[in-house]
């Protein structure tokens, strides 16, 4: 039927127009769009405390990586000036002027403690991140194989029994003696056996999930092992891995401090080395800032990293996305 709409005085838009019938479209069921990582961050940022702590973490990391490039740490810059040694913050600012650099006073050779702390933080944070990246990559891959294969399990349990019993201080000290005590030696020393405990943890998690009913069903339907690992198990592991990451990074900062304290750490001025060298200043009245500054900074860094990581781990569990 053809009408002349203009003549009838009816606007064209208001009329129905026929639509092509499409069988395929009519079968589609629409659901709200779901993106995993989008949801993770939505849940993460819903808590206000997380925003505050994340901001603090960003500030710390920016300070640790940018501040030393602006004010390079010069340990012996004021070495010849005997009046600049072991100054409390007030005296240091009176001497050098009111700037952020002297807010924590000066150290044993007149250097700025504030500079030292951030320089040390950069080394310690870098070390922890590099070691965590290597250990987690190796640990998760080997742990997954270890959990899946019963033959590998028998061998790896024995390997773990043996290597777990070789004192870790001994391995580190031998490696430091063979190479030198620089950054990459310590990375090597901390990763050569460090992945093992992570692999063991992942192995337990894999074993728990491996034989769940939905995986059994998947296997019955003929899904390949790789696909089960990638699609069924890995998503489940994401929150476990993030939580693990949250506890190992502060852990590595802690072990760096420990190793430096027993005299087996880096030769660079990391946080641990700063604490180790300033230990004697702790008991001297007026000198405590040199000692407590690196201790406090290491504590703040580790707590912040831990809390951010734990909460991110909680948020990355899909069950919290409802």
């Amino acid at each position: 039927m053809d009408y002349n709409y203009e003549e009838l005085g009816i606007p064209v838009e208001e009329l129905f127009s026929p639509v092509d019938h499409n069988d395929l479209e009519s079968e589609k069921i629409t659901a709200p769009r779901y993106s995993y990582w989008h949801s993770v961050f939505r849940v993460f940022f819903k808590k206000k405390i997380n925003i505050v702590i994340l901001a603090l973490l960003v500030v710390i990391i920016l300070f640790a990586y940018i501040y030393p490039t602006i004010y390079p740490y010069d340990r012996f810059g004021n070495l010849m000036d005997s009046t600049s040694k072991h100054l409390s913050p007030g005296k240091a600012m009176a001497k050098f002027g009111h700037s952020l650099r002297w807010i924590l006073g000066t150290g044993a050779s007149g250097q700025s403690t504030f500079d030292a702390v951030w320089y040390g933080s950069r080394i310690s944070i870098s070390l922890a991140f590099v070691v965590a990246a290597i250990n987690l990559t190796i640990g998760v891959l080997i742990g997954a194989v270890w959990g899946f294969s019963k033959k590998v399990d028998i061998i790896m349990v024995e390997v773990q029994n043996v290597i777990g019993n070789v004192p870790y201080e001994l391995i580190i000290s031998v490696l430091i003696m063979i190479f030198s005590s620089n950054f990459w030696t310590l990375v090597f020393a901390m990763t050569i056996t460090g992945w093992l405990s992570i692999a063991a943890f992942i192995r337990t998690q894999v074993i728990i999930i491996r034989d769940r009913e939905y995986n059994l069903a998947s296997r019955c339907l003929g899904t390949s092992t790789t696909k089960i690992a990638m699609k069924n198990i890995l998503p489940f592991m994401t929150s476990v891995i993030v939580t693990l990451l949250a506890s190992v990074i502060p852990g590595y900062i802690g072990s760096e401090v420990f190793l430096a304290y027993i005299g087996m750490g880096l030769s660079d001025m990391s946080l641990g080395r700063l604490i180790f060298e300033a230990e004697s200043a702790m008991v001297t009245p007026g000198w405590q800032f040199e000692f407590w500054s690196p201790v406090a900074i290491s504590a703040i860094i580790t707590v912040v990293l831990y809390v951010v990581g734990q909460n991110l781990g909680d948020a990355s569990d899909p069950r919290t996305h409802m």
């Binding site: 029994n161 802690g254 201790v295 707590v303 809390v307």
Partner: protein, 524 residues
């Protein structure tokens, strides 16, 4: 169950042997052996050939190489009766160079070289270093010796075969008269009148094999001893086992009755006497005290041993951490998301993430300045207050861990069916929590108790160093820094044994408290 434990023990023993082998590879093959001279004052004073021989001697002492000098070999020949002492004297001085040897000496030098080369040794002859035609340079005397790296398997076999030594009457090589064991009801060390049974030996390494005294555990034996080798730098010349277990501090003098009957105020413990050849006549003081060559005694000191101190601190901190951690963990689970749960979580986050060094120093600073507690440990001091800060420092993290895990396990149990049944049966929440959930949730915690107790023996490095406690925690690091190979191996062995035992004991304990867990192979 027994079969299972034996199998675990055998597995553990194999792991321990492999661990010791790995550690031996690490220290003997991978570490630069010249490093042991880094802090050796004597080494820098040596010159020329003497420096070379000194190095070899030290390496032999530290267990790197087997080292035989030409004169040692000649002495051995004298002992076997091949040559006599006079001939040795004429043979022992070799020429300044190989050409200068007399024919007879050259013959024996050749025999020495051939003997040791055939055994796989490297034979080295160092010609004299001359200042002028006649004058020999300082330390430049000629030398002839053979040396060989000790292979790993050989080192490992000797280590484990010598590990446990059973004393017997043929141990003393020298002529010692009638070799026998005597049993006495009246120990001569108490004057021979007091009733105190003892077994004494002649020809054995120890004079007293079994005896009673006033110290825990009252009955002591010297028949089976553990030989972990001798320490070289941490505790020079002292057995590694004794380094860990010997008492420290000032001498504790008491009235000692020596075998001759002489009474003296002394710290000697005559029960520990071991054989030392020729010592009776070697030292004037021994003649008045002893009747035979069993004169090498240990002394009694008023402090505890390294392991002893670590254990006291460890045990007290374990008790403290369970006494505080368990009730708080229970309350946290009971009032989940309540105030106590939140405060507890903050504490757990802080204590787990902060490096232990930081909070230990914090405890030391606060305890020292606010509460005026002693911050350094003193073996001589009698005040018990000095135990407080180290124990608090040690237990802070374990309190946090106990709280964390008990809370976690209890919350996991809270949705279990038996809890719902208990609730529908009309039990009060307190009853459900303390009687049902706690029992089930504490099983994994019980699994860790043997490990906690055994590892109290190991000590805590940082706490002990910060408070100057003479414990065992720093022993391994000290040994590594001083290249004391015997102590490194000994301590590693000790740790490995503790690990194996604590896993097995944990499993056994868990099976005992939870009847559902069984390790036996029998089909149920």
């Amino acid at each position: 169950m027994t079969k299972y434990i034996i199998r675990r023990l055998i597995h553990g023993a194999i792991s321990i042997v492999i661990v010791v082998a790995l550690v031996m590879i690490l220290i003997y093959a991978l570490m630069d052996r010249n490093l042991i001279f880094a802090s050796d004052a004597l080494y820098t004073k040596q010159n020329n050939n003497q420096k070379t021989t000194y190095k070899c001697q030290r390496w032999e002492e530290y267990g790197y190489i087997d080292y035989v000098t030409y004169s040692d070999w000649l002495t051995e020949l004298v002992n076997t009766g091949e040559i006599d002492a006079d001939k040795r004297t004429s043979l022992v001085s070799i020429g300044k160079t190989a050409d200068a040897d007399s024919d007879e000496v050259a013959e024996y030098v050749k025999a020495f070289t051939d003997t040791y080369k055939s055994k796989g040794y490297s034979v080295k002859r160092l010609d004299a270093v001359m200042l002028s035609k006649k004058k020999v340079a300082d330390g430049g005397n000629q030398a002839l010796f053979a040396y060989k790296d000790i292979p790993l398997y050989h080192r490992l076999i000797t280590y484990f075969t010598k590990l446990i030594q059973v004393d017997n009457i043929h141990n003393v090589k020298e002529d010692i008269g009638e070799r026998k064991l005597t049993f006495t009801l009246h120990d001569p060390a108490y004057g021979g009148e007091k009733f105190s049974p003892a077994i004494m030996g002649n020809g054995t390494t120890h004079k007293y094999l079994l005896y009673f005294d006033s110290k825990f555990p009252y009955i002591h034996q010297n028949i089976v001893t553990i030989n972990l080798g001798v320490s070289y730098s941490v505790n020079t010349g002292v057995d590694v086992f004794n380094t860990m277990s010997k008492t420290q501090g000032a001498y504790l003098k008491s009235n000692v009755i020596y075998p001759t009957g002489a009474q003296e105020l002394s710290a000697d413990d005559v029960h520990t006497a071991t054989y030392s050849a020729g010592s009776l006549n070697g030292l004037a003081i021994n003649a008045g005290r002893y009747t035979d060559d069993y004169t090498n005694v240990l002394t009694v000191k008023n402090g505890r041993s390294r392991v002893g101190y670590s254990f006291v601190f460890g045990i007290l901190s374990i008790i403290l951490s369970y006494a505080i951690g368990l009730p708080i963990g229970l309350l946290m689970a009971r009032h989940k998301d309540g105030l106590i749960d939140k405060i507890g979580t903050v504490y757990i986050v802080f204590i787990i993430s902060v490096p232990s060094l930081a909070y230990i120093f914090l405890v030391k600073a606060i305890g020292g300045s606010l509460f005026h507690l002693p911050t350094t440990f003193n073996v001589e001091a009698t005040t018990k207050l000095m135990f407080i800060l180290p124990i608090i420092s040690l237990s802070l993290r374990s309190i946090g861990n106990t709280m964390r895990w008990l809370r976690r396990f209890m919350i996991d149990q809270m949705n279990a069916d038996y809890v719902k049944f208990a609730r529908s049966g009309g039990l009060t929440e307190n009853e459900i929590f303390t009687k049902h959930i706690l029992k089930n949730a504490s099983i994994p915690i019980i699994h860790g108790i043997p490990a906690d107790i055994l590892f109290a023996l190991v000590g805590a490095l940082i706490t002990e160093r910060v408070y100057a406690v003479p414990g065992a925690g720093g022993l391994l690091v000290e040994a590594i820094q001083k290249y004391d190979n015997a102590v490194i191996v000994g301590v590693t062995l000790f740790y490995a044994v503790l690990t194996v035992l604590s896993y097995i004991l944990g499993d056994v304990l868990m099976a005992m408290v939870d009847p559902r867990i069984s390790f036996s192979d029998e089909k149920r």
